[in-house]
């Protein structure tokens, strides 16, 4: 019995040692993976935690890739003020527990100065208490308003957020409906936090825009055939349908809408603003209208728009490196990195100084997603007009306004 226990301890010991040593190795290989250069003691530590796989992979993968690409570029250009960036990246697999562990590791083991990530609102919400506890600035790339604001409307001290709020996307859609006199509307959302969060906002604001929901329901993220649900929608004969989800499930629902011959305007969420959606939905994607950042329609922006050149440059760099078009989600990570870079340029690696800089000194910042005005009350800083309404025409993105 004693021997057995002893061997058990040995086994555990080996595993523990392996786990611990892996964590110290990790710093080395992470930097070599991202920069291929030595990590001088003077480097600046940054963590990227994204859902590069699992349910939110369509969002998290380009975010992770963007951050890696930008860090590589920065380091190849000599780093920030001559200091290299030592990036550690973690894939949380769209799993909340993994995200928490990764955040813990980044903060307490890697001791990073700043964290970028949290692909889904759920993961961001799970990770942010750790950032607050450890007093490290955290720039989230997820949408929920709760991420940077407590329930009583206070800004969370250490948390900033890049994408627009879901609420702003919903409001943008409502505004569009109002402009086009579409008042009786069907609302369908995917049954996860992305969908229900937006649904809540829709419920709060629909009346302000004179929009009357005739039916509100959910569909599963794994939906195979939404026609049963749509027969109910059809009975209510709405003026327009809003389908709020990400790529795969939205594609199925919108295909079914077309198949049922429901000939009314279809609006989708900014979650489908990738070419993947056009590929999966095929012809059914045509005439879908949705709010999105301006990346997809960068070519069609006026030359005077300060974002135009930035967007084109990012798109070209990303396409050259990964051989696929850039997505809005990657742009969130790019903005986060750009803001972090500006802060590091000004303040070095001290976490508290970085936070103060982003909150107080950054001022107006033109990014890929929009023009940020971050201040002590608003740790996100975008306005709804950072969304453009786009329409898919013949499989291409066109500006709708």
């Amino acid at each position: 019995m004693k021997k057995t226990l002893l061997s058990l301890f040995l086994l555990m010991g080996v595993l523990v040692l392996a786990a611990c040593s892996s964590s110290s190795d990790r710093k080395g290989d992470a930097s070599s993976a991202s920069s291929g250069t030595d990590t001088s003691g003077d480097s600046i530590k940054m963590a990227g935690i994204f859902s590069a796989s699992g349910g939110a992979a369509a969002l998290g993968e380009p975010e992770m890739q963007t951050l890696k690409m930008l860090v590589d570029q920065k380091n190849a250009d000599g780093g920030i003020n001559g200091r290299k960036i030592d990036l550690v990246t973690y894939d949380d697999k769209s799993d909340q527990n993994e995200a928490i562990l990764a955040m813990k590791k980044a903060l307490t083991q890697d001791k990073v100065s700043i964290v970028i990530g949290g692909t889904t609102s759920g993961n961001s919400l799970a990770m942010l208490p750790l950032a607050e506890q450890n007093q490290v600035p955290y720039i989230s790339v997820a949408a929920s308003k709760q991420i940077y604001m407590t329930e009583d409307g206070q800004a969370r001290k250490w948390v900033f957020k890049m994408p627009q709020d879901d609420q702003q996307a919903v409001e943008r859609i409502l505004q569009y409906l109002k402009e086009n006199d579409l008042t009786k509307v069907a609302w369908l959302n995917v049954a996860n936090s992305y969908g229900t969060g937006a649904h809540e906002e829709f419920g709060k604001h629909a009346a302000d825009y004179g929009v009357e929901p005739v039916i509100e329901d959910e569909f599963e993220a794994t939906v195979k055939d939404a026609k049963p649900l749509l027969t109910r929608v059809k009975k209510e004969s709405p003026d327009a349908i809003i389908v709020w989800g990400t790529v795969q499930e939205s594609a199925v629902v919108i295909k079914n809408i077309r198949e049922l011959g429901l000939d009314i305007p279809v609006l989708a969420s900014h979650g489908v603003a990738t070419d993947q959606f056009i590929e999966v939905a095929g012809a059914a994607a045509n005439d879908v209208v949705l709010p999105t950042g301006k990346l997809l329609v960068a070519d069609k922006l006026e030359d005077s728009n300060p974002q135009k050149e930035l967007l084109k440059a990012y798109n070209e760099a990303f396409t050259a490196k990964y051989n696929k078009p850039a997505s809005t989600f990657g742009a969130y990570a790019a903005d986060a990195f750009a803001i972090a870079t500006k802060a590091i340029e000004a303040k070095g690696s001290d976490s508290a100084a970085l936070r103060d800089y982003i909150e107080q000194e950054l001022g107006e910042y033109v990014g890929l997603t929009g023009v940020f005005n971050i201040n002590a009350d608003n740790h996100m800083g975008l306005s709804p007009d950072s969304f453009a309404m786009v329409r898919i025409v013949d499989g291409k993105w066109t500006l709708e306004d």
């Binding site: 301890f9 595993l15 786990a19 892996s22 208490p129 936090s193």
Partner: protein, 350 residues
Amino acid sequence: MDKKHLKLIYNNSLVGPGIFFALLFCLPLVGSNYTLAIFTMIGFYALVCIGLTMLTGYAGQISLGHAAFYGIGAYTSAYMTATVGLSPWLAIVVGALISALVALLIGIPTFKLKGYYLALATLGFGIIVYTAFKELTSITGGSNGFFGIPSISLFGFEFMTDQSYFYLIWLFVFMALIFSRNIIHSRVGRGLRSIEGSEIAADAVGVNLMKYKLQIFVISAIFTSISGSLLAHYVSFINPDLFTANTSIYLLIMVIIGGSTNIWGAIVGSATYVLLGELLKHYVPVILPNVGGEFEIVFFGLLLVLTLIYMPNGLVPQFMKITGKLHKKERSTPIAFSIDTRATGGKTND
């Protein structure tokens, strides 16, 4: 079954657990916060797995629905503390009571089933409870999740750090382990072992199978619920995705890897699962750097299959077998004796 095995089964000394936990409780002296976080995670799983191991290995029942109790514990604690304003400790008790009640209600009809049917019934039960978490938005917050669960405090001491949660969860694991060993060595345990041997025989000699199975099911539900409650306080934010059918499956995987016929299998299994996951996450991208996504689960899946093909009883029983053999060689056991062991070798139940 030889005497040695009987001795192992009924070994109720506190020396083993004592040494183990004494060593473990020294970990915060050397480990970083991250190491502690990992071991805290292992602790949450271990607490669940101790109950599940008794259910699988001793009562011979398979459950693919334990994430339901994990979730019931977590959501009850969240709701009772954040919304109602109850003390966290009271909330843990309420959660455990609800879980016990649900276990009893679902257990009575379910345990009439056997084998795969039981597995499917528990799977279905788990999915129904998961949907309830998602749909009862007024209580659970639905898919948006439940935010702002307060941390636990005891006599004015607030559990905030990794270190404090590490001690808290492993203290519970320790108590659960002792408690379970006592059960196994009790009348209930002997009754249960008879189920595992032959249900018909046990029935014939008048062991009330149903009662024993239900007792163990309820106990395992309570352990799982407590673990869920503590998890909720630890992470302060929960959502239904923590309690899917996948979670139930992974919990059972831990039990089977560790070895369901030994209560230590629960701890070894959950530790192996968590540490292996961490290791793969770190080393696989080094070997294959350019693939996005969680493809390291390939290795996890393959290792799982290989382990079970070569050690169908799990790690701990396999270890027992190996060390047991070494032990015997040293003492040059009579041949007849070792043949006897080998005859039961495939099915050692220690």
